[in-house]
């Protein structure tokens, strides 16, 4: 799971071009949006697309569900490992 978290941190940094951050700067349990990394709803869209490309996971149309998955890097890793096709 830790390897997947590391991969997802790299994906977040690359997708969103967070150039001044290194994977080790991101706390896997910290919130990704608003108060944490300060990402916004458009970042969520971009990240959703990137996850779909990388792992073949599709996001649900249920926004409450999605908010849970996008809560932190750890939550994303849980979601990916449960749904990945590759």
């Amino acid at each position: 799971m830790q390897a997947l978290e590391q991969e997802i941190k790299k994906l977040v940094i690359e997708t969103l071009n967070l150039e001044d951050l290194k994977p080790e700067d991101i706390d896997p349990a910290a919130p990704l949006f608003v108060e944490g990394l300060g990402l916004d709803s458009i970042d969520a869209l971009e990240l959703g697309l990137a996850l779909q490309k990388a792992y073949g996971v599709a996001l649900a149309s249920d926004s409450k569900e999605n908010r849970r998955h996008f809560a932190s890097v750890r939550a994303l890793a849980d979601f990916v490992s449960a749904h990945r096709k590759s």
Partner: protein, 569 residues
Amino acid sequence: MAERIAIEHLLTQGRPADFPVAFREGQVLTFADFEARASGWRAAFEGHTGQRFALYFEDTFEFAAALLGAWHAGRCVYLPAEVQPTTRERLRLQVDGFAGQIPSSTKLLKFQQGAPRTQWAPLSSEAQALVVYTSGSSGEPAAIPKQLGQLTREVATLADLFDARLGSDTGAGRVLATVSHQHIYGLLFRVLWPLTSGRPFLARSLPYPEDIVAELTHGPAALIASPAHLKRLPDTLDWASVRGNLRSVFSSGGPLPGDALHACRELLGQAPVEVYGSSETGGIAWRQRARDEALSWRTMPGVEVRLTDDALAVRSAHLPDGGWLQTEDRARLLPEGFELLGRMDRLLKLEEKRVSLSAMERALLESDLVREARVVPLSEGNRLTLGVVAVLGPTGRYLHADSGKHFLNQAIRKHLASQFEPSVLPRRFRYLEAMPVNAQGKSTEAALVALFDSRRPPLRVLEQTADRAVLSIETPASLPYFKGHFPEKAILPGVAQIEWALQLGRELFTLPPEFLRMEAVKFQQLIVPGTQLTLELTWTQAKGSLQFKFTSEAGTHGSGRILLGEVRG
């Protein structure tokens, strides 16, 4: 005083054969020389198909001859401010040929030696004579077409207003300039006005204050300058012994800061004549702040001004038609002219949200995190975001050194969050020692956006003089140069080192346009991702040599010389 001759009639009416038109390295270039060069250039343009030609010359006399040659051949002249690769690419799509010192150019015109003597006919004021470009400080440079009459009417106004200031002795008051004729201000003030009023001009520009002092020892002259130069006058030079010869100083291209005004009064013994205008509008107003710092602008004869939504609008014979042209400068009208109150807000839509870049810049300056700041739009993938280029203030410096760049970025975002929605907050940051400025003293948007190019390594300038600079450069693994070079072990290609040396050399020094060759290039040790490099650049103008050396704790990695020069047109 020499007879005033409008540019339309300069070559048909003519001046005495020995009339001094310009000076080059102590030599007088006469009207006969001028006519001969213009004739050869006219033949060159007539011998080449197409209507539109880009001119770029270092030498102002040769430029003036080529300009008149092109006009008498019925051609339209495109005037780029510089000929960097991106500008050349853009021009290639717009013009049919090039003349002058344009590097690696196809379709380059050759001056026609021994062309038969030309029968001149007057030029038409309605001719589509010129295309100039805006400086691009608020976006891509925009092309502005001008009819010949727009230019000559403006020159007539300048002559009416300022001729007397240059003295009445024929041929004595030479025109010196720090600014290039490749811009509308330089074109009008150092080429077209002197040609019209019969003032000899210096064929080369004077980029260094030492050159201005040396030229002033040769006799009376006027100086066409810009704030970029006037705010950098060294008080160590002997201005007192030469300023008696300085008849007038002109400043345009941007606002003249108070410090520069004081330096001019003290060192040059006079306040410059400030001219307010733009590439689109031409000259609008002028003032000379001999005593009153806040003296208002006086509208030029024939120019009308009014306010539209607090911004100045202009109507004049220097504009293409009788309509009003809206500027982006806020102003207050006064009985004798107007007062300028700063630029209008730059508005942008980010993901359907409207944001004022000017308001964000003002908000940044309210904190003591930054001392200077510019906000620029960056397109990343399919998203438009904002980037901040800033010179740090005391608190910002402290946070950067103590807690790192990411922490400082977040502090800046937090500061802005009280006034701006989270989704428009800047996402990328560049902290510099000084804002990048071009020869006109402006930070163009292109130069600011270039700081975010992923091929540009993170760097800091440690030391800089006129001919030497030391930089610290990081080589993060994310640099695109490492991708696939090589798949099994990433190393920085030698060509990337040369590209960095040349690119940074061009930013730090004024280098000639053409890459001639390289000498003594050696790559002694590999540069792997994460290497902390020091780059030392030395510019030897006399040899046209840019020397570079990349070192680190491990010793020297790469070194060599890049030879640069002019192409003779």
